[in-house]
């Protein structure tokens, strides 16, 4: 089921959490709401669920207005950051809860509930833990139970609030991939909130980047990463080097000349788009000195200082290239941005 968010605004006292936000979530997609804390992403999720009421605007599920509809009639599944499992119930009873609270006429009989819960326990690979209590489970297991509980009633929309936020790095990685696979299997329209750009890019079909109560950009992970619509999106979705240059002289994607650094516009370059060489091939190569090398990790990172204006530049090199170059701290090299985006600021910061 598709979700249409129209002109939603929400204030908490004087604080604006959402400011005229529009968003379309196509049916069956897995969408990430990505933004720093305080950007309004969780508020938007809670408004879609019905746990908060918007000050203005409307929510439609498949074109049908649901803004005024009661939470329990919306048929959404919600997964909370801290799981919110019922602590006095076993895993089995937690997952069965949504089915057992249905009105008598709609409630499946005991045998069917049991079958459904066992199905879900298999799906989350916790079949042998049905009789445990939440306190006896690890964080990752709790989150999977929370997900199974949300799926038990076959919701039309699945909403997840920082689903992996409270987990450690390794478990988070596993669960992410698991969620992606799960979504490929069941295709329920899903929206999840995260402040982790890596998570959003890895899991989602579509990423919604939010900042200060507004949506900055909506697009596929490639679109938002490779073609960010604003400086905010560029810097939020990964590390970035700033190259100062004059706007008029350089169309987007051009390479800034080191003699024009006094200009107002700023070129944005990802650390992976910096090429390091020992000799200057063209006038676009800037001389720089290596300040620091961090050789461990998937992408060795080199910190350089431009000799022309003293700016610090970070470069990520493929391991092979890094070994081949055999760089040393203090060495003088040439750097060239191979892919740069220039944003002309419409206001002075």
């Amino acid at each position: 089921m598709g979700i249409q968010v129209q002109k939603i605004s929400k204030k908490f006292g004087t604080y604006t959490a959402l400011d005229h936000v529009d968003l379309q979530v196509p049916s069956g997609e897995l969408v990430a709401l990505l933004g720093p804390s305080g950007s309004g992403k969780t508020t938007l999720l809670r408004i879609i669920a019905g746990l908060e009421t918007p000050d203005a605007g409307s929510i439609h599920f498949d074109g049908e207005e649901t803004t005024q509809r009661k939470v329990r009639e919306r048929q959404v599944g919600f997964v909370f950051q801290h799981y919110a499992l019922f602590r006095h119930m076993t895993v089995f009873d937690n997952i069965a809860f949504g089915l057992t609270v249905k009105p008598k006429t709609e409630r499946p009989d005991k045998a069917r509930i049991r079958r459904r819960v066992n199905e879900l326990l298999q799906l989350i690979q916790l079949d042998n833990m049905a009789n445990r209590y939440p306190a006896q489970l690890s964080g990752g297991q709790r989150q999977r139970v929370a997900l199974a509980r949300a799926l038990a009633t076959e919701p039309k929309v699945l909403l997840l609030d920082e689903p992996f936020g409270a987990l450690d790095a390794k478990v988070r990685q596993e669960l992410r991939r698991w969620l992606r696979n799960l979504h490929d299997e069941i295709h329920v329209t899903s929206v999840f909130v995260t402040h982790d750009q890596e998570e959003a890019l890895e899991v989602a079909d579509r990423v919604v980047v939010m900042n200060q109560a507004k949506i900055e950009q909506v697009g596929t992970p490639e679109q938002v990463y490779d073609h960010p619509a604003s400086p905010f999106v560029f810097s939020f979705l990964g590390h970035v080097n700033l190259f100062h240059c004059r706007s008029g002289d350089h169309p987007a994607g051009a390479i800034a000349s080191p003699t024009r650094v006094e200009g107002r516009s700023i070129g944005y370059v990802r650390p992976g788009d910096i090429r390091i060489s020992r000799s200057a091939a063209t006038s676009e190569d800037y001389p720089a000195e290596i300040v620091f090398i961090q050789g461990a990790g998937a992408l060795p990172r080199v910190e350089l200082r431009r000799l022309d204006n003293g700016e610090t530049v970070h470069a990520d090199l493929p391991r092979e290239k890094y070994r081949q170059l055999g760089l040393q701290i203090g060495e003088k090299v040439f750097i060239r941005p191979t892919n740069m985006r220039i944003f002309v600021p419409d206001y002075q910061i």
């Binding site: 669920a49 801290h82 019922f86 602590r87 609270v101 709790r142």
Partner: protein, 291 residues
């Protein structure tokens, strides 16, 4: 290694032996002098003239009537305060509404008003010369110097106890589980009976125990509204006072042992329940994700 350092604190972490003994000794001496000695004295005095005299004082009709009235007052006020306390704590901790701060202040009123004053207020309102006195008399209802007055006064002085016990517990637990239940389609009553109440059940029991102890032991407010009619409107604490004023010390202390036993039982139940309540709070502490 760890247990060794724990059982034998190093000099860097502790005070000299003499200071430790002095501080611990002072605290124990204080407790003994002000709590233990009086408690023992109650039982010694009560049994001074033998078990038979003790027993006679307890099964004497006026004493039995006092016991019965105390039980009735507690049996009515505790359930009422249980319902009220849970409702108040539920409203205050799980919902946002206007006037919440005012409600919390009202809740503390019985703690801030002297019990004698609260009893006196009931006399002023419901007594013969009070605001509602003539109307009550016209309808042949007697509240003051009768059992209903005693029950009312008991309810008043004990009504914060359950709520006060539950509010911090429910606040610590937050509203996430209720929200989860709501999204899963549960109705208000289903959320209350299947999620909220089971999560605080030990806290509720704890509050009931405290409320019961206070209801049975209340003196001031009840004393004002009771009229001290022997065999009719005397509760246990009032009966003790009357006996004492009549220089019937053995009987007074004999009846007082019942209240002392109630206190000891309450303390024991409290100690047991406190552990359970702590577990209820602890289960909410956000866990670290470990697989």
């Amino acid at each position: 290694m760890t247990t060794q350092t724990l059982s034998q604190p190093s000099g860097a972490l502790t005070e000299p032996r003499a200071v430790r003994w002095l501080l611990t000794g002072l605290a124990l001496a204080f407790l003994a002098l002000f709590l233990l000695v009086p408690l023992v004295a109650v039982f010694v005095q009560a049994l001074e003239k033998g078990v038979e005299t003790y027993w006679a004082a307890i099964i004497e009709p006026d004493a039995v009537a006092a016991i019965r009235l105390t039980l009735i007052a507690a049996a009515i006020s505790v359930p009422l305060n249980l319902v009220f306390g849970i409702a108040a704590a539920w409203a205050i901790t799980k919902f946002k509404f206007r006037g919440k701060a005012f409600l919390i202040t009202l809740l503390d009123l019985p703690f801030s008003v002297s019990p004698v004053i609260s009893g006196f207020i009931y006399v002023l309102v419901f007594g013969l010369q009070g605001w509602l006195g003539p109307w009550l008399k016209a309808h042949d209802l007697q509240l003051i110097f009768a059992v209903p007055g005693i029950v009312l006064a008991t309810i008043f002085v004990t009504f914060p106890l359950v709520a006060r016990e539950l509010i911090p517990l429910m606040q610590a637990q937050g509203t996430e589980e209720e929200e989860a239940a709501l999204v899963l389609g549960a109705s208000g009553w289903q959320i209350f009976f299947r999620v909220t109440l089971p999560n605080v059940i030990w806290g509720v029991l704890y509050g009931v125990i405290l409320c019961n102890a206070r209801a049975m032991g209340e003196f001031g407010a009840v004393s004002v509204v009771s009229g001290h009619i022997r065999g009719l409107t005397n509760t246990l604490p009032l009966h003790v006072e009357i006996l004492y004023n009549e220089y019937n010390f053995v009987a007074a202390f004999a009846v007082a042992t019942l209240l002392a036993l109630l206190a000891i039982l309450t303390l024991a139940a409290k100690a047991l329940l406190e552990k359970k309540v702590r577990q209820e709070v602890k289960a909410t502490v956000k866990p670290l994700g470990m697989e």
